[in-house]
């Protein structure tokens, strides 16, 4: 019997899966984003395409949570296939932000952040391809960690853009996020991109709040473009860190001006390839084709099963990879990605962490941003560079605007330096 009432529509399925009797996460309830496979529990990716899909196996990250004693309490709402910044592209309706009524919870892991913010789960798993853990954490006033690419196994994650995506924890404080990350991190023979660096970790111990002597770099490009209310809260928080013994200097990362474009070209291109598997034959929507031509039958299934944002990205990705445009878009985006990596490496040689507002804007009102996809993409300006560089980042609550809307602060660290961003974050939450 579940006690979840779900007034914010954070969950797509409320279903309990008991973990081991003992372990580091015993007595911890976990909500899992609905693009992470759970055996015998529906996993829809927020898409009508997978409305009836029930995976025959469990993702490694969920397996590890259960072995550590956690109890899964349900699967959470999300932008369809992770494609969105508000959780409004879900085929099953929007989620409301518990910390800001009438506003979006952010996305794409909006259900996970809302479930944690509302106290319906102690921690949650989200996925972050271009900010999808950090954005909803910032908007809902909770903590979210995007690990270094390769720290957490993606086995069982239904792919959107493989070269960018990571699974990460969301919690009400840094320590809980860190101890969840301790459990899910580490090599997995089923995901060849995982790394030994995650084998023996004690991130929870790094959440000691000690920022004495820490050097913080502030990339001017990631502050200048933000809303005034967000910028004000950001600098107040930097001042708070200074009073705790940290110091800061401003740095310039010219490459990040191109990060959103590069991110979308790469993510859409990978999505167009990944989502080719949804043809309605092995799984997916059951459509009786009106014609006998198999290409038309597939097109019909995909036309009915995919929502507007997914179609937009699959089509633009197909365009970016097509003959004559590949060099212009995809190859240039890969150059931009390498440039962003270089810029981060250089600035992190002079700083322990980089800090910026997580999102340049406070949470949008429900329904406000659906009509203009480009405006929605631009909201990812501060989060996407980190995915392009494969680095770890944490979003922690930094306070509220005068209108009472949550503002998040993002710390970015060096490759596999999760301990440093966790330590920095723990000084605030």
């Amino acid at each position: 019997m579940s006690g979840i009432e779900d007034p914010h529509d954070a969950f797509l399925h409320v279903e309990t899966v008991e973990g081991a009797d003992k372990g580091p996460l015993a007595d911890t309830s976990v909500a899992v984003k609905d693009n992470i496979s759970t055996a015998d529990v529906p996993t829809t990716c927020g898409s009508a395409m997978l409305e009836d899909y029930v995976p025959p196996y469990t993702a490694t990250a969920v397996e590890r949570l259960l072995e550590a004693g956690a109890t899964v309490v349900g699967k959470t709402n999300m932008d369809e296939f992770g494609m969105g910044t508000t959780t409004e592209t879900s085929a099953f309706g929007a989620t409301e932000n518990p910390a800001a009524p009438g506003h979006v919870p952010g996305g794409s892991s909006g259900g996970s952040a809302a479930a944690v913010a509302a106290g319906e789960a102690d921690v949650a798993l989200g996925t972050d391809t271009g900010g999808s853990v950090r954005c909803p954490a910032a908007f809902c006033g909770v903590v979210g960690i995007k690990p270094t690419y390769g720290l957490v196994s993606r086995y069982g994650l239904i792919a959107y853009a493989n070269s960018l995506e990571t699974i990460g924890p969301i919690a009400r404080n840094v320590k809980d996020a860190a101890r969840t990350l301790d459990v899910v991190a580490g090599p997995d023979e089923r995901d060849a991109t995982t790394h030994e660096a995650g084998a023996e970790t004690n991130y929870a111990a790094a959440a000691d709040g000690d920022v004495e002597g820490m050097e913080i770099g502030v990339p001017t490009e990631l502050v200048e473009g933000a809303d005034d209310a967000v910028v004000e809260t950001f600098w107040d928080t930097i001042a708070k860190l200074e009073s705790q013994g940290a110091s800061y200097h401003e740095v310039s990362l010219p490459s990040v001006e191109h990060a959103v474009q590069a991110y979308y070209v790469i993510a859409m291109s990978e999505a167009s390839s990944n989502l080719a598997r949804f043809d309605g034959v092995r799984y997916g929507k059951d459509v009786d084709p009106e014609t006998g031509n198999w290409n038309e039958a597939f097109a019909e299934v995909r036309g009915e099963g995919f929502g507007e944002e997914v179609k937009r990205r699959v089509l633009l990705g197909t365009y970016a990879l097509s003959a004559g445009y590949h060099e212009k878009y995809y190859d240039k985006a890969q150059d931009a990605r390498a440039w962003v990596k270089q810029d981060f490496d250089e600035s992190l040689a002079e700083a322990d962490v980089l800090a910026s507002p997580t999102m340049p804007v406070p949470p949008m009102e429900l329904g406000e941003s659906l009509d203009d996809p480009l405006q929605m993409y631009l909201a990812d300006a501060n989060t996407t560079p980190v995915n392009l560089a494969n680095l770890p980042a944490i979003s922690v609550p930094a306070g509220e605007t005068d209108d009472g809307l949550p503002v998040g602060l993002q710390f970015v660290g060096g490759k596999f330096e999760e301990e440093t961003i966790i330590r920095a974050g723990s000084a605030l939450a």
């Binding site: 025959p56 092995r282 997916g284 031509n293 038309e296 009915e304 970016a320 212009k328 440039w339 480009l374």
Partner: protein
């Protein structure tokens, strides 16, 4: 910056390549949106050539047989199956 021209036929063409059927109003909306989005992507032209020095290594494993999904498990999400096979649309 020059506005990339996107015509409804371009949208229909990529939709066909991607095997996605589109309603008429989607073609219209996408034509306008794609022009805006591709115009924004144009700024990638300003990105210099960068030498990427990825410190990556290939990961290999021994080729051992492990237990996989049973045929029943693999078929259980299919709309239609026959004699242990998936049933797809006609090839014609």
């Amino acid at each position: 910056m020059s506005e990339p021209r996107v015509e409804p036929d371009d949208v229909r063409h990529v939709a066909q390549l991607a095997r996605v059927s589109l309603a008429g109003e989607d073609v219209e909306a996408f034509t306008e949106q794609f022009a805006d989005i591709l115009d924004h992507f144009e700024t990638l032209d300003e990105v210099p050539d960068v030498d990427a020095d990825a410190d990556l290594v290939n990961v290999l494993r021994t080729d051992e047989v492990h237990e996989g999904l049973s045929q029943e498990e693999a078929l259980r999400n299919a709309a239609e199956t026959e004699d242990g096979y998936f049933v797809g649309p006609n090839v014609s």
